[in-house]
């Protein structure tokens, strides 16, 4: 069983290198025109996706857009109020702005923190030759369990007044602090929690590092390049496509964070950790303002789309694609 597993998984790993496997398909296509039979079976196979797309994605999105112009508390039917939700959000809702600022701060610090951390650990692991598998598994573990409620609950106690973190500080003779009770520090406990789950980014970076041909380093060493130069001239440029992918996924993740602020701090103290999704959840499912919640969802979508577009647009300047890799 074990050799078979590794055999198969290697063929997955190989995919990025042998990307152009589409050629045979095209040859096949030109030989045979798209027939009615093929159309029918094609649509049959993807029919679950199409049903899901229309009923569970497209229709809800359109409905959500409509709702954002209404007032609706689940009783009766939605009342059209035009742009009122949006004007209220931007001009008459301090909590909206607070949650927006908190979310930008949270994502703006936590995402780079996690990525840089993941990259540094991946670089360190790439240098080592023995026990790499063990370290990799152990360091990936926080990522595996990180999303669960148990971890958020544990985190709350870890940074509590008489939790382990303060206990350590006391042991070292340092002043303890009410980390979760102080509006200035509470958000940092969430940021550290986010950074702690650097495992999957680390794995992606590690795989990216393995794809860089050794000959580049050998050649540059012959030319007298120092390790730092090698890092900035070879490693980092060649990793940029992987960094781009990681960044896009993590930015979306960071903006959508809900569980940590719901469980660890429940938005407090003094609303200092009310992340955007938590506020949206409260509006929609605690105050039953479905229209207002939908309007918030749309604002969020626009922000995320804009950020993603920004990252992709700027990527032309900093992402380096190897000639052979397209």
């Amino acid at each position: 069983m074990i050799p078979k597993k590794s055999e198969q998984s290697e063929s997955v790993m190989d995919f990025p290198k042998t990307k152009m496997t589409e050629k045979p398909v095209k040859r096949f296509k030109s030989r045979k025109k798209k027939s009615g039979y093929e159309n029918a079976t094609g649509y049959l196979f993807i029919s679950p996706f199409l049903i899901g797309l229309f009923c569970l994605t497209l229709y809800p999105i359109v409905y959500s857009f409509y709702l954002s112009f209404t007032q609706y508390d689940l009783l009766g039917s939605p009342t059209w109020i035009g742009l009122d939700n949006y004007t209220r959000m931007f001009t008459n809702d301090d909590m909206f702005w607070t949650s927006m600022k908190t979310t930008f701060f949270y994502a703006g610090v936590a995402v780079p923190f996690r990525l840089i951390f993941a990259l540094l650990v991946a670089l360190a692991l790439n240098k080592i030759t023995e026990m790499v598998g063990l370290y990799r598994t152990m360091l990936y573990l926080p990522s595996v369990v990180g999303g669960s409620i148990a971890i958020s609950i544990m985190w709350r106690q870890l940074f509590g007044n008489d939790g382990a973190f303060n206990s350590f500080l006391a042991l070292l003779g340092l002043p303890t602090h009410s980390w979760l009770g102080d509006p200035d520090t509470a958000i940092w406990t969430l940021i550290v929690l986010y950074g702690w789950q650097f495992g999957s980014s680390m794995l992606i970076f590690l795989a990216g590092l393995r794809n860089i041909p050794k000959t580049y380093y050998e050649a540059s060493a012959v030319d007298g390049a120092r390790p730092i130069q090698q890092f900035f001239k070879i490693t980092l440029p060649l990793l940029t496509p992987v960094i781009l992918f990681n960044m896009v996924m993590q930015v979306i993740n960071g903006f959508m964070a809900f569980t940590p602020s719901f469980i660890v701090t429940n938005g407090g103290p003094m609303n200092s950790t009310v992340l955007f999704v938590l506020y949206m959840y409260r509006r929609a499912f605690e105050f039953f303002e479905m229209g207002y919640g939908s309007a918030m969802a749309w604002v969020m979508l626009v922000i995320i789309a804009a950020l993603t577009a920004l990252i992709f647009k700027s990527s032309g300047k900093w992402v380096h694609y190897e000639g052979e890799q397209k």
Partner: protein, 281 residues
């Protein structure tokens, strides 16, 4: 250089790596350790991992749950939801992936782009309208809103399995065709058996996500007897009412055991799955 130096360098590297790994794993060890401490001593010298007295009773007390519902119920609920939705998403995603990877039909490009876009779309975007929809169907406090959507494929899994199917030579399909296999025959006899490793990866991810899913049960389930572990744990650990800290840590620990088991058995699949999906750009 001389071997002495090399050995020293290696020693330093490994020491640093081990210390770092231990620091990263400390919170988990602390949780397990605290689950065996006496409730009154959890927060005295809180940093200690190994309790002075091992109290396994925490697990028995914690398992009793709350409101007369034991954790047996919550675990059963979680397993029902997780297993059905995992089967649903993996099977449907395999079907869809085959359609996209191997059949040429009109409009394939368009639907493929749609799928990639939905992969980027956060769930929170459709959360409110879906809730209203399912509420209208009278599905609140049932498992339908948690399970049914998984039967329409998950874009990430479709993509993962598609990548895998593309590595299977099309010559195999053509050979089967010559031997009289139709499209369905090719799917069931050729592709399905070969694509099992990718299905496994998808199943493992699905298991994790469903097991950890909190938002779904929080929105849709109202009867405590129907709660999965994640939501039950939240109530069980309500900071205003918890007094038995040991039991709370015990149940938190236990809720992670299925995740750990799956992880240690199948870690190859997981590591490769992540590495591949991350390198697609």
């Amino acid at each position: 250089m001389n071997t002495q130096n090399k050995k020293l360098k290696k020693f330093i590297q490994h020491t640093a790596m081990i210390v770092f790994t231990l620091i990263m794993l400390y919170p988990l060890a602390w949780m397990v350790g605290s689950s065996l401490k006496e409730s009154s001593s959890v927060f005295i010298d809180a940093h200690k991992i190994i309790p002075d007295v091992f109290r396994f009773e925490n697990y028995i007390e914690g398992w009793k749950g709350f409101g007369g519902i034991t954790f047996s119920t919550f675990f059963m609920n979680s397993f029902v939801i997780v297993i059905i939705s995992t089967i649903g998403s993996v099977l449907s995603s395999t079907l869809i992936a085959f359609g996209f990877a191997r059949i040429n039909f009109v409009g394939k490009k368009l639907w493929f782009v749609c799928m990639m876009l939905t992969m980027m779309l956060p769930y929170e975007m459709v959360m409110i309208p879906q809730y209203i929809m399912f509420n209208g169907f009278g599905w609140i406090d049932t498992y339908l809103p948690l399970i049914l959507p998984t039967f329409f494929g998950a874009p990430f899994f479709i993509f993962l399995i598609m990548q895998f199917i593309r590595t299977i030579p099309t010559e195999l399909d053509q050979a089967a065709k010559i031997d009289g296999c139709g499209t369905f025959g090719i799917f069931f006899r050729i592709i399905c058996p070969l694509v099992v490793p990718a299905m496994m990866t998808a199943a493992i991810f699905s298991f994790y996500w469903r097991w950890d899913d909190f938002m779904g049960p929080l929105l849709y389930l109202t009867t405590p007897a129907k709660y999965p572990v994640s939501l039950a744990l939240k109530l069980f650990s309500d900071p205003n009412s918890v007094t038995n800290w040991g039991a709370m840590f015990a149940m938190s620990t236990i809720s992670l055991i299925p995740v750990f088991i799956i992880f240690f058995i199948f870690q190859r699949y997981i590591v490769d799955g992540i590495s591949t999906s991350g390198l697609k750009s």
